[in-house]
């Protein structure tokens, strides 16, 4: 394939599926998708392909032992060849000389780092790895379905609004408060997902019993996601300072987005709702 600029993505189905269209263009394309069966079939076909790709190309559980083995090899100098999986061993009964030299060097380096590593472990706490960074990417509608099927159980329930604001400030550099929910709206708590980016946070709520979720991420990292048609869900977008919020709801209008506010600007709300794909 040759290098070059993309072919007029602003008008293509690819740009639509890729979330690259501006809001007005996306709304126009939504209408086209709804009215054009062939276009809708293309969009649905692509959705199936994307789901297949996620099934086929997700690191298996076997990846975890590899990491553990790598850590072990880097700390105790264990022969690097012990990292070989049975598949690898069967395919390559004998590593190439260059690779063997590399493995020997790696083992030697790992062995030499043992003393330093041991001291390091004493003087420094273990590296904290973001538990959510390893999550597989999921689309908003997938996260929505997953959360609904698991009963809207949040990963974190903030004890007060200050803690809620700190969660946003720590993650996105922008504190956000939540106004007291009106009658019929109940907020369950916060969870985390790899959706807009790996740092996406989402609020779980119910509006008159219907599950509603608000996904939050940094404005500069916004990928302008969209929902596939025919899911019975609507997407509403709002920006508050450095944070972009997306409400995924089966209802015809956003009911939770308006509850978020920046403490510096309260009570003024920017209510420039932008509608996404409709059922």
């Amino acid at each position: 394939m040759t290098a070059g600029t993309p072919e007029r993505p602003e008008h293509s189905l690819e740009a639509y599926l890729d979330g690259l269209l501006a809001d007005s263009e996306r709304a126009e394309f939504d209408r086209r998708v709804r009215s054009d069966p062939a276009l809708r079939a293309e969009a649905e076909c692509q959705a199936r392909i994307d789901e297949a790709l996620k099934r086929l190309y997700t690191p298996s559980a076997a990846g975890a032992p590899a990491l553990a083995s790598l850590r072990a090899a880097s700390t105790n100098g264990r022969a690097a060849t012990t990292l070989r999986s049975p598949l690898s061993a069967a395919r390559r009964a004998r590593p190439a000389p260059a690779l063997r030299r590399g493995l020997a060097v790696a083992a030697a380096v790992a062995f030499c780092s043992l003393a330093g590593w041991q001291v390091w472990c004493f003087v420094r706490p273990a590296a904290v790895v973001d538990a959510y960074a390893a999550q597989a990417w999921r689309s908003m509608d997938t996260v929505y379905r997953d959360e609904v099927s698991s009963g809207l159980k949040p990963s974190w329930v903030c004890k007060d609004n200050e803690e809620f604001a700190r969660s946003f400030e720590k993650r996105f550099g922008q504190p956000l408060y939540l106004a007291p929910p009106p009658s019929g709206v109940t907020v369950a708590g916060l969870s985390y997902c790899n959706t807009i980016t790996r740092r996406t946070m989402h609020l779980l709520a119910r509006v008159n019993g219907s599950p509603v979720m608000v996904f939050a991420d940094s404005v500069p990292d916004d990928t302008r996601p969209s929902l596939p048609p025919g899911q019975g869900l609507r997407l509403f977008r709002r920006e508050i300072g450095k944070v972009v919020l997306y409400e995924v709801t089966p209802l015809s209008e956003p009911r939770v987005l308006d509850l978020f506010y920046d403490p510096a600007t309260r009570p003024a709300h920017d209510t420039t709702w932008q509608s996404g794909p409709t059922p």
Binding site: I49, A52, G102, A127, I196
Partner: protein
């Protein structure tokens, strides 16, 4: 402690050590999914990606001083992964040629329609998911490694094009073009499969 002392390089200037083993392990773990997808995309088979990433990690462990602090660890590690994956892909091709298995082919003509399309209506039910996945996998093996890696990083990991471009050392527009063209190509392949029907499947089987 834990960081090596660095040294003098060919340019005669002293450089601080790149990264220590502990930091490497932490960053490797955080980057593992992306590295795995680069490996899977480059080598073309998910089943080989674990080995490729492991090999790359072992090589990188021997070159920790080459890493420049402050630069993108995943991009640095991704370069090692691509190097190992390309070598692995070459070995696989040789292996398949000597054993008569030539299913992996055509890597340099990524979007060329092939005449040996096997067919059958697209499966609709969940029971046929495996067949559908198999067709996608087959079609992807006829796509170039860079295009495949771009597609996986965008679709599976949802990376922005700027990140994909940095990881694969290609222009951002090229990364986007690879993704869009490959998606279109895959839909085209599925449409041909569907149009050919069961008879075509039997004929080519």
């Amino acid at each position: 402690m834990g960081r090596s002392t660095g040294g003098t390089r060919a340019d005669g200037q002293d450089h601080p050590a790149g990264i220590d083993a502990a930091e490497f392990c932490a960053q490797f773990q955080a980057s593992f999914r992306v590295l795995w997808l680069i490996a899977a995309g480059t080598v073309g088979e998910a089943s080989l990606a674990d080995d490729v990433v492991q090999d790359a990690a072992l090589i990188a462990l021997g070159k920790l001083d080459d890493f420049q602090p402050g630069t993108n660890f995943t991009a640095w590690m991704g370069r090692v992964v691509r190097y190992v994956a390309l070598n692995q892909a070459r070995k696989e091709r040789k292996f398949r040629m000597t054993t008569g298995d030539a299913t992996l082919a055509d890597g340099d003509t990524p979007l060329a329609a092939r005449s040996d399309l096997r067919g059958g209506p697209l499966p609709a039910g969940r029971d046929d998911t495996r067949v559908f996945d198999q067709r996608i996998e087959e079609a992807l093996q006829t796509v170039g490694e860079v295009a495949r890696a771009c597609l996986l990083l965008r679709t599976v990991e949802g990376l922005p094009y700027s990140d994909i471009a940095a990881l694969l050392e290609i222009p951002e527009g090229t990364a986007m073009s690879h993704v869009h063209r490959t998606r279109r190509y895959l839909r085209g392949r599925l449409a041909v499969w569907q149009a050919n029907g069961p008879a075509a499947k039997e004929e080519h089987a």
